[in-house]
């Protein structure tokens, strides 16, 4: 099936727009605090990376790996992956078309898993509400982070691998 030139342009334009938007939100998502926790009145702000380091230092390698993979690695892989798909189309690299489809399947599969940290923060903030003794609340990074996930999913959904054959 051949896509019309107009449709091709629209798909490519929208995919770039979603990807660039995700990339823009990626920086506040990673540099602003994801969660604010407090113990005995002392508040502490945690970014995603500082959370990973905290669990790694305290020997919780499993949690550190899960958070690192879901919250840092997957968003990067998704953004790089979509850019790679768009470059395959732009440079008409025919021998990479099947690789492109495999990458598309992977991006499609991993897309939603980066939302993990948003759900963990939401759950913890509703549970840990002990006033002065202990509290947890979502930090300002939660919204840009959720937007990174949403825009990378939109970019993947919008991209059409039939572009490689058109």
């Amino acid at each position: 099936m051949n896509l019309s030139e107009e449709k091709k342009k629209k798909i490519v334009f929208k995919s770039w727009a979603y990807t660039i938007t995700a990339l823009i939100f990626f920086f506040p998502a990673n540099f602003l605090p994801m969660m604010v926790t407090g113990e005995m009145g002392k508040a502490e702000e945690n970014t995603i990376f500082s959370g990973v380091v905290y669990f790694f230092v305290h020997g919780d390698y499993f949690v550190a790996s899960v958070i690192f993979i879901a919250s840092i690695l997957i968003p990067i892989v998704k953004i790089v992956g979509i850019v790679f798909l768009l470059l395959i189309y732009h440079f008409k690299v025919e021998e990479k078309r099947l690789l492109g489809i495999n990458i598309y399947h992977i991006l499609h599969f991993i897309g939603k898993w980066s939302m993990l940290d948003v759900f963990v923060v939401a759950l913890m903030s509703s549970l840990v509400q002990f006033g002065f003794v202990a509290f947890a609340k979502p930090g300002p990074a939660i919204i840009p982070f959720a937007l990174v996930v949403i825009f990378t999913i939109l970019a993947t959904k919008n991209f059409d691998t039939k572009l490689f054959w058109s």
Binding site: M1, N2, E39, F55, H58, D60, F62, V63, V66, I67, R97, L98, I101, Y104, H105, H108, G111, K112, W113, M115, L116, V118, F119, V120, V121, A122, L123, M124, S125, S126, L127, V128, Q129, F130, V133, A134, K137, P138, I142, I143, A146, I150, I153, K157, T161, K162, F164, W165, S166
Partner: protein, 216 residues
């Protein structure tokens, strides 16, 4: 009778020679899955109804309880969502509510409604629209991510508090099991493919036939 399906990844037209369960029709060019027939609708209906009951039951059940210095706090799906709304985290509440509560619920309701419509041979354009909506929202369902989120929260909190896993988490696991089996067993394209290639009069065959379908 054979029918044709276009591979949605590369556009190749693939000929499918018969309705055959447990056979994956792959695209000869890109090896992507082109068509897999769903399981009999009566099984999907049974699982969907079970999922729906478990889903409605779990919403208010306690997921986790945390105890610090003798003070205990419990949360559920609804309480977690309510807390986000009460603290002004509307976008997070919207994402959580949509991807973990509204979408799975809508998927279940659509599936049940479509199967009942098939049972009573009430196939209309509305059924196809519902199926299109089903395919559109299915990709935004994130219930399994939330389950992993519960486990990560347990591991994170165990060093500072006593954690008790509530009945809600167990019901949630049961719900996810039935929900995902029913998602795998239900192919939303089957109704249209069947009506286009055979006859909507014979649509009830989708409810119960278990082998290969041979037109008589």
């Amino acid at each position: 009778m054979e029918f044709k399906r276009e591979c949605k990844y590369c556009g190749t037209i693939v000929e499918i020679d018969k309705f055959e369960r447990d056979t994956d029709y792959l695209c000869p060019v890109c090896k992507s899955l082109v068509y897999r027939m769903g399981q009999p609708f009566r099984y999907v209906l049974f699982l969907s109804l079970t999922s729906l009951i478990l889903f409605l039951w779990m919403l208010n059940l306690p997921l986790l309880s945390v105890k610090i210095l003798g003070i205990e706090r419990t949360t559920s799906f609804v309480a977690s969502l309510g807390h986000l709304i009460a603290t002004g985290k509307f976008l997070t509440a919207f994402i959580l509510g949509l991807s973990v509560i509204i979408i799975p619920y809508t998927m279940l309701v659509i599936r049940i409604a479509v199967i009942i419509a098939v049972k009573f041979k009430a196939i209309s354009p509305y059924v196809y629209r519902l199926l299109s909506l089903y395919k559109l929202i299915a990709e935004w369902n994130m219930t399994e991510v939330y389950l992993v989120g519960i486990f990560v929260a347990i591991i994170k909190l165990r060093s500072i508090a006593d954690i008790t896993v509530g009945l809600g988490t167990l019901v949630f696991i049961l719900f996810l099991t039935t929900f995902y089996v029913s998602v795998q067993w239900f192919n939303p394209d089957d109704v249209k493919i069947f009506c286009d290639n055979y006859s909507c009069e014979k649509i009830n065959e989708l409810m119960c036939f278990e082998g290969n379908f041979n037109e008589s």
